[in-house]
């Protein structure tokens, strides 16, 4: 026989991640904070293979030289989907205002990441304010991807409000603790009709793989890459891990059973 003439059935390719009607091949979303410079930012973004990059809106530094390079030169909107976020907002009012400015800044594109924080110590979401802001933004025509707690009931409420993706935290922003409660995350995934994207808390590659194996549609991270000793290498590790986890999810893992099962047949043993 010649094995090369008879290729075994190859797996069907993953259709990709669809958010608000647009489909992305990559399931990894990355932030742009904490990098040494724009060059490192761009190199890490490229190594990660991401197509969606989140940015923060801040006041222009009046008086500083206006011709210095800007982030959007490094990650141009014509090559990446830019996802403005409300990092640093602690109430619905500020978050909504920030995203209205962001929409103007980005020529009216409506996709955004809403995060309303509860306090500076934990950066845990303030869910009542988050629900309020989501309602206002959806009414105003935004496509809202929302940072939230891992509460399955409030995740469903956010979906019912019309958010285009729910993004529960795996653990505290920047903590690198990984997925503290995979069980709640599973409850959210089971019921969700919009993409579920783990946002915050990923520390290393296996955390991202675990999120995908649980059935998440994507993972968003910033510190895990930008804070690594070698950010560009870690960006690549994350690209591989998200794909590995997704493939493993699709491949259907063996069950966990605390019992042994031999890999080698018993028949014909030498004795």
């Amino acid at each position: 026989m010649n094995l090369h003439d008879t290729p075994a059935a190859q797996p069907v390719a993953d259709p990709g991640l669809t958010i608000a009607g647009k489909t992305y091949a990559s399931r990894l979303l990355v932030g742009t904070g904490k990098y040494r410079d724009f060059e490192e930012t761009r190199a890490a973004v490229d190594a990660s293979g991401t197509e969606i990059v989140t940015v923060t809106i801040r006041r222009v530094n009046i008086g500083q030289h206006a011709n210095e390079p800007s982030l959007l030169d490094a990650v141009p909107p014509d090559r990446f989907t830019i996802l403005p976020n409300t990092g640093g907002c602690y109430n619905a009012k500020d978050a909504v205002y920030t995203l209205q400015l962001a929409r103007e800044l980005l020529d009216g594109h409506p996709l955004c990441k809403l995060e309303v924080l509860g306090d500076e110590k934990t950066l845990f979401p303030n869910m009542p304010e988050t629900l309020k802001a989501a309602e206002t933004l959806v009414k105003d025509g935004f496509q809202v991807m929302v940072y939230c707690s891992d509460d399955p009931i409030q995740a469903r409420i956010l979906e019912d409000i019309g958010c285009v993706a729910v993004m529960p935290l795996a653990s505290l922003i920047g903590s690198g603790m990984g997925i503290l409660n995979p069980w709640n995350l599973s409850l959210i995934i089971e019921q969700a009709r919009v993409p579920v994207i783990v946002d915050a808390g990923v520390g290393t590659a296996s955390d991202a793989a675990i999120a995908m194996e649980l059935g998440c549609d994507g993972v968003l991270m910033n510190t895990a890459i930008a804070g690594a000793r070698e950010p560009i290498r870690m960006a690549r590790a994350m690209r591989l891990a998200v794909e590995a986890g997704r493939e493993a999810f699709l491949a259907g893992r063996i069950p966990r059973r605390f019992a042994a099962s031999p890999s080698s047949p018993m028949a014909g043993r030498i004795a």
């Binding site: 742009t32 923060t56 206006a66 400015l101």
Partner: protein, 69 residues
Amino acid sequence: MTSLTIELNGAAHSMRQGETLHDLIDSLDLLGKRVAVAVNREVVPSPRWPKHILFPSDRVEVVVAIGGG
């Protein structure tokens, strides 16, 4: 020709009376740059800058996108 003081990104900023948002952004060398502007927490699209005259104690916000997660 008298001058007036507005609040620009949280700090006092003085301009000449009758100047527009366009004049302000120009004076900041930000024309053609990717910035968004709000006056008194109302976003003002760039096409309207030339006609938007600023008045004393207007609160002007000029923002850009920066690195963040």
